[in-house]
């Protein structure tokens, strides 16, 4: 079973690379980040690193999300439209194995994307660091410090977050009939997950006046959608300006893993019932 998932994932990965979609988005994101480096001359002073990090992580987040919705949908519909899925599923390949293969293949592509961009952001930050530190010293404020471990942890978290998006796209793709529908609904789900924190905050606010129905709806929203905004702690992790509570990274990773398992299970169940 694992070897079949591995082979499907491998071919999925290979196919995605050869389609050059990854290369395209990677170049786009890199161009975006590099193109904004000169903007720092508007003088952010010792806030420069924060500006660069915000921008880099923003690009990683935006382009990564696009890739995470479009790539798996495209790979899934490509196989179904081209009837390659028929050929594969007539072999001793389970539907679940097929879908998991698609998931791991797409996720590996996103891994390449995340770590490549993180490396780029890291290099830019490290190159600029001495300058900024010197300036901060002159102003006698606490200089920021780039943490390589933080960068790595952040990349890992982003990769997990993108994995959740991939699994959501595959779940929608297993239920929907067309590529466009999958991309649209998938993007809306991602947007909703990105905004879940608003619902969470509203619920937690004792001063908010809410009807029971509203309260119930908000509560349901926070249960269904993962809070993806919670993974955006790059600045804290990398520049260490405010301290990250110990265990934040591991608890976020754990909750991502739980979400992944649940969503993938639902996706496999839906895909088993689908007519190919």
């Amino acid at each position: 079973m694992f070897s079949r998932i591995f082979w499907i994932a491998r071919v999925t990965f290979l196919e995605a690379l050869r389609q050059r979609f990854l290369a395209f988005l990677l170049l786009l994101a890199a161009a975006f980040i590099l193109g904004s480096v000169p903007l720092r001359s508007i003088d952010f002073g010792h806030g420069e690193l924060k500006f660069l990090a915000d921008l880099g992580f923003g690009a990683l987040f935006l382009f990564g999300s696009i890739l995470a919705v479009v790539l798996p949908s495209q790979l899934l519909y490509g196989e179904i439209d081209n009837r390659t899925a028929l050929t594969l599923l007539a072999k001793p390949v389970g539907r679940g194995e097929f879908l998991l293969g698609k998931f791991f293949g797409s996720w590996a592509v996103l891994g390449v994307f995340t770590f490549a961009l993180t490396a780029l952001i890291g290099i830019i930050l490290l190159v600029r660091e001495p300058d900024v530190v010197a300036r901060a010293m002159a102003l006698q404020v606490v200089p920021p410090e780039v943490s390589v471990l933080g960068l790595f942890e952040h990349a890992l978290l982003q990769w997990l977050r993108l994995g959740i998006i991939v699994s959501v796209a595959l779940l929608v793709g297993s239920l929907a009939q067309t590529f466009l529908y999958t991309v649209v609904v998938g993007s809306m789900a991602v947007l909703a997950s990105q905004l879940v924190w608003i619902a969470q905050d509203t619920l937690a606010n004792p001063e908010a006046v809410l009807s029971t129905v509203m309260r119930g709806a908000l509560w349901l929203t926070t249960r269904i959608f993962p809070n993806l905004q919670g993974y955006n702690i790059g600045e804290t992790l990398v520049l260490g300006q405010s301290t990250v509570l110990p265990g934040t990274v591991s608890s976020l990773s754990l909750s991502a893993a739980v979400y992944l398992v649940v969503i993938l299970f639902l996706a496999c169940t839906a895909f088993r019932r689908r007519e190919i």
């Binding site: 082979w7 081209n82 028929l86 599923l89 007539a90 072999k91 001793p92």
Partner: protein
């Protein structure tokens, strides 16, 4: 085990819901069929009569509305049964970004070929499909004939007992079709069971042992090819140098025995034979 049919279908019905209002479309209508082992079985019928749908149901790719079926004596969903079949779907497209060889290797892995056998099995399958040379090109660059042949290679790479070919010659020129016919015969000689859907009736007649004809989802004829085709009451004699006098004498002689001539004309060669004598072969 081996006396069980390769495919057995009992009272199979399939309705598709089409359109927004979910109108029912009956693609397969109470079909009962038994395909024996070790033979080439032709499944014929006009477009849309439900051949592909029947095969997909039997292979566990599409759920049936009602009825039952077995594949090599097993439930189709069982991996044991599916590991022993090879399937070439109609109008196949494969991963365009892989080379032919990569595709066949991939299929070998998925079909459970042992890791140390994968290379040899891939080479054999490419050889059988005459795709050894083209194997290093991307599938996206293949002609229709090559697509069907690489499809055949991926279907047989794990040495399956039962090979299901859905219109393997669609869109392929006569020389390529003849080559596919030869491959089918080669596989039959190795004792495989082959199910062939095809509109090339001439080829079906040559390679199939039994045929079934479907129309609008129903079975209209089933039997051994010689039995269903033979017109036992009529005979044909080919003669050279038949002068009018000789013809009259022959007719008189025959009528003395109570036989009479129905038709005298010139045999005609098939366009396919003529075509194949004129051209050397495709460049694939």
């Amino acid at each position: 085990m081996t006396d069980k049919p390769a495919i057995s279908v009992q009272d199979l019905t399939k309705d598709f819901r089409v359109g927004l209002r979910g109108v029912k479309l009956r693609a397969v209508d109470h079909l009962t069929l038994s395909i024996p082992r070790g033979q080439v079985y032709g499944l014929l019928g006009p477009n849309g009569c439900g051949k592909s749908t029947t095969l997909k149901i039997v292979l566990g790719l599409v759920p049936a509305t009602s009825g039952s079926f077995t594949l090599l004596g097993h439930d189709s969903a069982s991996p044991e049964a599916r590991a022993r079949i090879g399937f070439l779907p109609e109008a196949p497209y494969f991963h365009r970004f892989l080379t032919g060889r990569e595709l066949v290797r991939y299929c070998a892995r998925l079909s459970g070929v042992a890791a140390d056998r994968v290379d040899a099995a891939t080479d054999e399958a490419l050889e059988l499909a005459s795709m050894t040379e083209a194997g290093n090109r991307r599938v996206g660059t293949y002609s229709k004939g090559m697509l069907q042949r690489i499809g055949l290679a991926q279907a047989v790479v794990h040495d399956p007992e039962l090979i299901v070919l859905d219109e393997p010659t669609a869109g392929v020129d006569p020389v390529g079709s003849a080559a596919i016919g030869k491959m089918i015969q080669a596989m039959r000689q190795r004792g495989k069971t082959i199910v062939l859907c095809s509109h090339l009736l001439g080829q079906v007649e040559q390679v199939c042992d039994r045929i079934a004809v479907m129309d609008r989802g129903r079975l209209v004829l089933e039997g051994h090819i010689d039995e269903v085709l033979a017109q036992r009451a009529v005979h044909q004699i080919s003669v050279e140098g038949l002068t009018p006098a000789a013809r009259q004498a022959a007719e008189e002689a025959l009528s003395r025995h109570g036989a009479h001539v129905l038709k005298v004309d010139h045999p005609r060669q098939t366009l396919e034979d003529l075509f194949r004598r004129l051209v050397t072969g495709s460049r694939d």
